[in-house]
Symmetry: C2
Subunit: 294 residues, 2 copies
């Protein structure tokens, strides 16, 4: 038997170790990045906000005029089959629909049979847990919503990857990309929040509608904070008391410096800490979790 | 033996039928569309402008901070091994470099080993040869150069694919995408030219520097035409005497209608015909061709 404990994938109807999982080189999901995806995490054997992820995934497919032959229940079963095969109790579970291949000789996307793939891999932290992220505001513009709808979760990441290289060049770890007029949008895989005098601001236009973003907005409002979904300028971000990033990969992650300047006192701020604790507490609330029967 | 006559691919150091060629689902070339590529065509057993394609491919890798362990000569040998294995005398040959996979647990692109893939598939015409293309000017904006450098040939095509769907919805075959202020940029895999009173205009900013585009500009200038590389508005395109598209996939292709309105008299125009003939004549010029020894 192959080792599935480092991750298990569902490809072309089979469960295989993720390291051996391969997709056709001709799939438009690769050759045209013509795909949508979602990532739900599993924490202590439970999916977190699975319904929200499935809603977004099906909405993205619809927007891209893709479909899969699986009901939500069947899709969930496939995801769970990956998790169960791996035995992982803390995992990222990625679901992907690609355009597929057109019929030979055609370049008509309508002739494609859409393909579905999924995999479960171990949960890893994308940011150092104690110290937080060193972030720079990149000169790179995030791909505009007028080109690719950011609400449809997609793999158009070259701008984000090149922003990451810029961050390394400037002695940081990661980058926030901007829009045409210079406002902060998002980083590679995360939304951005600023806290100033207990008021919380996060960009709303031209960014992914992150599920963690949504959780944090809900938790902050419940805790009595004002949350503004509006433009965030680099100048405002630099003056913030606290900055943090949100992502399914890592949850609520403090940002400890911006453009080489320490945020607050360089330690995780009280609002960030409170929201981070509240976020992880949600993982014990049956309203937001779906148990996997291993 | 597997059938290679429908296309042969070089993946992970092996030559396989392209229909069986697969890449790792975890490669950032797929999961982040973090890749660059080029397509050279083979006509009657000869590469056309191979040097130009290789120059662009190596420049793109450098821009994306990727590298492959092959010299130009070795790369050419790999491409030729695909063509020879297939036996095809008219083919598209695609070469691809992807970021590869980061080391486990990392999201640092610098930890990735870049991967190289290639395949040769039969040459097909992407447009009807006699009648030309029915094109609409899409409302969709081509991904801006400030986000992803279009001179680095890349797979960020969701805007182009969605433009294609818009074209179908509007009763056409393909679409030209625009920039923020509405000027025409490019279509899915092709550059666009307009001819008015024997003056030829093609967009220069925010578009792929197509090798066929380059050939046509050179040929037109040699033939005494004025070629302007500058913005092309939809209004100017609609008033053109002739419109055509250029692509490695198909060469010089007449556009017979724009937004439902016939271009010229609906037949291939004299300038388009002349440039098309000149383009195909170049394929017999040893200066532009590289013979493959089968």
């Amino acid at each position: 038997m192959s080792d599935l404990s480092k991750g298990a994938a569902h490809v072309y109807g089979e469960i295989v170790p993720v390291s051996e999982a391969k997709i056709s080189i001709l799939d438009w999901g690769f050759l045209h990045s013509d795909a949508t995806y979602d990532v739900v995490h599993v924490w202590d054997g439970n999916y977190f906000r699975l319904d929200d992820h499935l809603n977004r995934f099906y909405a993205g497919m619809s927007e891209l005029r893709m479909s899969i032959p699986y009901s939500r229940e069947e899709l969930q079963q496939i995801l769970s089959s990956c998790v169960k095969a791996s035995g992982l109790r803390h995992a990222y579970v990625e679901m992907i629909t690609t355009r597929g291949l057109p019929v030979p000789g055609s370049r008509d996307p309508r002739s494609c049979t859409n393909q579905f793939f999924a995999f479960a891999i171990p949960f890893v932290w994308i940011a150092p847990l104690q110290t937080g992220l060193d972030l720079v505001v990149s000169r790179k513009q995030r791909i505009a919503a007028e080109s690719v709808d950011p609400r449809v979760k997609n793999y158009h990441w070259l701008d984000l990857v090149m922003g990451q290289y810029e961050a390394y060049d400037r002695g940081a770890q990661t980058a926030a990309l901007v829009d045409r007029v210079g406002n902060i949008k998002e980083g590679p895989g995360f939304n951005i929040f600023a806290v100033k005098n207990s008021i919380i601001t996060t960009p709303d236009k031209g960014v992914l509608r992150g599920i963690t973003r949504k959780s944090v907005i809900e938790l902050a409002r419940t805790a009595g904070y004002t949350v503004l979904e509006k433009e965030l300028s680099p100048a405002a971000a630099r003056k913030a008391d606290e900055l943090f990033a949100t992502s399914t990969a890592g949850g609520v992650m403090p940002i400890s410096s911006i453009d080489g300047q320490i945020v607050g006192n360089g330690q995780i701020g009280p609002v960030t800490q409170r929201l981070k604790d509240a976020y992880w507490s949600l993982h014990e609330d049956p309203k937001y979790t779906t148990q996997i029967i291993y």
